[in-house]
């Protein structure tokens, strides 16, 4: 089997044997679902869409993605199993990608668990599935960017708490660059707006898959995973 897939499979299996993963996932679903479903029937005429869910989801993801990625490399370093992994015939990049894919699959499963939301909505009106599909695709891309950042941070420390806090800070910063841009002017504002994950996510969640947004997320993932791979390779020197 491809080493990347082997690593991803092992990592995913490990995630699902830990009770912590289930608790974190259940909490995420409880909070995200609660906020969405308690609000949607408040008004006499509520828009039939998942707009409120997709508006809040990036913020939740900024917490949740670091929780998934915190232990990916930090725990391996703490428990000294990373050295063991390095003795196997796999490259650093394969290790990083394998772990990233496992985290992404876990995230996809969690997001998949929210699919009953649009299905329930479709039973009470004519739901436009385009923005829903766009929203989920957007969340996956956004999540992959946050996870990649999390993997990079996890490669830099042995402490999971440090990993989650720094990752969260980075993800939160990426999410709020758009807000910061409105307080600055000129090129700085333009750059901040471009770097911000929120603007790109909003576009995809409208139901428009745009190559510019995909390239942006791909760039973050590529740079972060390459960075993590370089950090790992330093251990071999």
């Amino acid at each position: 089997m491809n080493p990347i897939l082997s690593i991803a499979k092992r990592e995913l299996r490990a995630s699902f044997t830990s009770v912590t993963a289930y608790i974190v996932i259940a909490l995420f679903l409880l909070i995200a679902g609660g906020l969405f479903w308690l609000e949607i029937f408040n008004a006499a005429s509520t828009e039939l869409s998942m707009r409120t869910f997709f508006t809040r989801a990036p913020f939740f993801l900024a917490f949740f993605a670091p929780a998934i990625s915190m232990g990916l490399l930090a725990e391996e370093q703490r428990s000294k199993t990373l050295e063991l992994l390095m003795t196997l015939p796999v490259t650093d990049m394969q290790v990083v990608i394998g772990k990233f894919l496992a985290a992404l699959t876990l995230l996809a499963i969690v997001l998949g668990a929210t699919l009953p939301y649009p299905i329930s909505l479709a039973s009470i009106g004519n739901l436009d599935w385009g923005p829903i599909i766009g929203g989920y695709v957007g969340l996956l891309f956004l999540g992959s960017a946050y996870l990649a950042v999390g993997v990079l941070v996890s490669s830099l420390t042995r402490d999971q708490m440090v990993a989650i806090l720094v990752s969260f800070f980075c993800c939160f910063l990426l999410n709020t660059f758009g807000e910061l841009a409105s307080h600055t002017e000129g090129t700085v504002a333009e750059v901040l707006r471009f770097i911000s994950t929120s603007g790109h996510f909003e576009n995809v969640s409208r139901g428009v898959i745009d190559t510019r947004d995909l390239l942006y997320y791909f760039t973050i993932v590529l740079l972060s995973l390459s960075g993590a791979s370089i950090v790992l390779s330093r251990r071999r020197w």
Binding site: A43, S120, G199, S226, W237
Partner: protein, 605 residues
């Protein structure tokens, strides 16, 4: 040893430098690619109505342009949310227009804040700065920004321009641009919509009341109010897309009229009226008839001092019901009742007594006689931006029954044969029931179930298209185009300044959600009238663009409290519980495997 260590250090330094350089180059390439992608990109529009993709009508419009069109967007940079999405959305849309314009479509986006010259240019087009709020970590501040655009059609005879002084997030930019470009670039005359008067409609009431108040010396007050009202309809309702004229049916309708609207007629049309209307339909021109089978009447019982006048419901015999029937639709004399999702009406109730004198007030009441029209045929071009509709009564003291429409047997046969197409555009909710001949039904009567009630939904607005024979034996047409609604009040209420539901004081007395619904009924009614009128004068392309991006709402009639609770409980608690149970099972399995392994080792030992 020292040399080996040095070599090792050099190798580490070189590798580190190489990796750093690799990451730097990678970042540089990624940044370059992202920069290039701002001009070179592809998009996949997943929305059901492809609202973010240029419509075929817009593409054709710009590709057929005979002279250049230039769109000058005056948009401040660094706009705060939610305005920050405007630049990209407009830029993407204008790029699509330009790509289809064969060089005849250009656009520029400038920030007038950057130069006084651009500010002056914006001002020349009538684009002024607008104030927007901006929330910082310290406080809420306001700033002046430009968010307007000018469309200039450079005809050989001179420039013609249209201006949108302010755009806003959620605006249907494509519709606004397309209709304006079409207006300035088209040589064709603007279609004319005729509103029928002299038939006892709501407009007759407005005109006669205004005439009673008199006008300037030497001026016919009725003529003045007609001119003023037509101007308002043209500019405020139809955004100058159509001309508006008043039409009386006692004489043949002029050829300049492209479509007719009869809004709540209550007077007998007479033989001449019926003949003229039918002749208009037989020309293949569009007619919209909003008529209830009932009307209110204030009987003349002589003058008794101190006795207030009162109104009673009666059948509305205008002669139109016969014409409509001959075209294939029956205006049923029935009452629709919805006890499960009644809407709010304002009923005159005695709220106190001043001595023996009862003190009445308009009280918002849940009224089963006001069914919600939730079955909206989304394939119809008349309803893309119609979300919630309820037929609010015009006369609060004597609310008229809301009635249904049905196909005649002949029309059903013609529909089967494929010569006539009667489409149900809007129907009442599934929870509606129908009661025959229940003209003076009170709220209390409507609340009680009766054995003769028939379960809904029932059509209340239909369209008729195709081959129709004249109702007065005057030939036929293959291009009939009619909108038939069993009610006119829901439209005329929009123009009624005395409508209690439009009164902020009444709205304040309602729960916020109900007040919001009332606003939505009015909005939907206006949208429906606009759509129906556009459809009558055959501008289906434009209406299709306008309807894109319409927001769908949760259908209240399909959602009772138990379903709501089940949905919330499952999605909020059910899914996390399922996950937790899966975790518990996984944990037990793991525990079992460990125990089995331990047992095996123990046995082996």
């Amino acid at each position: 040893m020292t040399t080996e260590l040095q070599t090792q250090r050099n190798r580490v330094a070189k590798t580190g430098l190489g990796n750093g350089l690799f990451l730097l180059i990678l970042a540089g390439v990624a940044v370059m690619l992202n920069l290039v992608s701002t001009d070179l990109y592809g998009r996949l529009d997943l929305t059901g109505d492809h609202r973010f993709t240029l419509a075929p009508a817009s593409k054709k419009l710009v590709s057929d342009l005979k002279s250049p069109v230039e769109v000058k967007v005056f948009l401040s940079s660094e706009l705060p949310p939610p305005y920050d999405s405007i630049q990209r959305e407009l830029s993407d849309l204008l790029s699509e227009f330009a790509a289809n314009g064969d060089g005849n479509f250009r656009f520029t986006i400038v920030d007038p804040g950057a130069s006084e010259e651009d500010k002056a240019k914006a001002a020349n087009y009538g684009i002024r700065p607008v104030t927007v709020g901006e929330q910082s970590s310290e406080a809420l501040s306001v700033r002046e920004v430009f968010m307007g655009l000018a469309i200039v059609y450079q005809k050989p005879s001179g420039d013609v321009q249209e201006v949108i002084p302010q755009v806003f997030p959620g605006m249907n930019y494509e519709y606004e641009l397309t209709r304006r470009i079409r207006k300035i670039s088209s040589e064709a005359k603007v279609p004319t919509v005729g509103f029928v008067i002299g038939d006892g409609s709501f407009f007759d009431t407005i005109i006669s009341e205004a005439a009673k108040q008199g006008g300037a010396e030497g001026q016919d007050p009725a003529a003045a109010v007609k001119t003023q009202l037509a101007g308002q309809l043209k500019s405020q309702l139809f955004d100058d897309l159509f001309s508006v004229e008043w039409v009386t049916l006692d004489q043949p309708v002029a050829d300049t009229i492209d479509g007719l609207v009869l809004l709540g007629p209550t007077k007998d049309l007479g033989a001449a009226g019926a003949k003229n209307l039918d002749a208009f339909v037989m020309k293949g021109k569009g007619v919209a008839i909003f008529q209830s089978p009932y009307r209110t009447n204030t009987p003349d019982i002589g003058v008794i001092p101190g006795m207030p006048k009162f109104t009673v419901p009666e059948e509305n015999k205008t002669g139109l019901e016969g014409i409509i029937e001959s075209y294939g639709v029956t205006l049923n004399k029935d009452t629709l009742i919805d006890r499960k999702s009644p809407q709010v009406s304002v009923v005159e109730k005695v709220v106190a007594y001043m001595g023996n004198e009862p003190l009445k007030a308009s009280v918002p009441t849940l009224d089963p006689r006001l069914p919600l029209m939730t079955n909206i045929n989304r394939k119809s071009l008349l309803v893309p931006n119609v979300n919630l509709l309820a037929f609010m009564p015009a006369d609060r003291a004597t609310p008229l029954p809301i009635s249904s429409l049905s196909r005649t047997a002949a029309a059903s046969a013609a529909q089967t044969a494929g010569t006539l197409n009667i489409t149900e555009v809007i129907s009442s909710a599934e929870t509606t029931v129908r009661r025959n001949n229940a003209m003076g039904l009170s709220v209390e009567d409507a609340t009680e179930e009766k054995p003769d009630e028939v379960a809904g939904p029932f059509p209340v607005i239909v369209t008729i298209e195709g081959k129709l024979a004249s109702s007065v034996g005057n030939g036929s047409t293959d291009k009939a185009r009619l909108v038939i609604a069993s009610n006119g009040d829901f439209i005329s209420n929009v123009f009624n300044r005395n409508d209690p539901l439009a009164d902020p004081r009444t709205l304040r007395g309602m729960p916020p959600a109900l007040g919001q619904s009332v606003q939505e009924y009015r909005e939907s009614a206006v949208n429906f009238l606009k759509n129906a009128t556009e459809w009558l004068v055959s501008d289906a392309d434009l209406i299709a663009i306008r309807g894109r991006g319409a927001v769908a709402y949760i259908d209240g009639s399909r959602l009772d409290s138990s379903k709501k609770f089940t949905m919330q409980a499952f999605n909020i608690v059910g899914i996390p519980i399922l996950f937790s149970l899966a975790g518990l099972v996984a944990w037990q399995l793991r525990k079992g495997r460990r125990a089995a392994l331990a047992a095996r080792f123990k046995k082996a030992a």
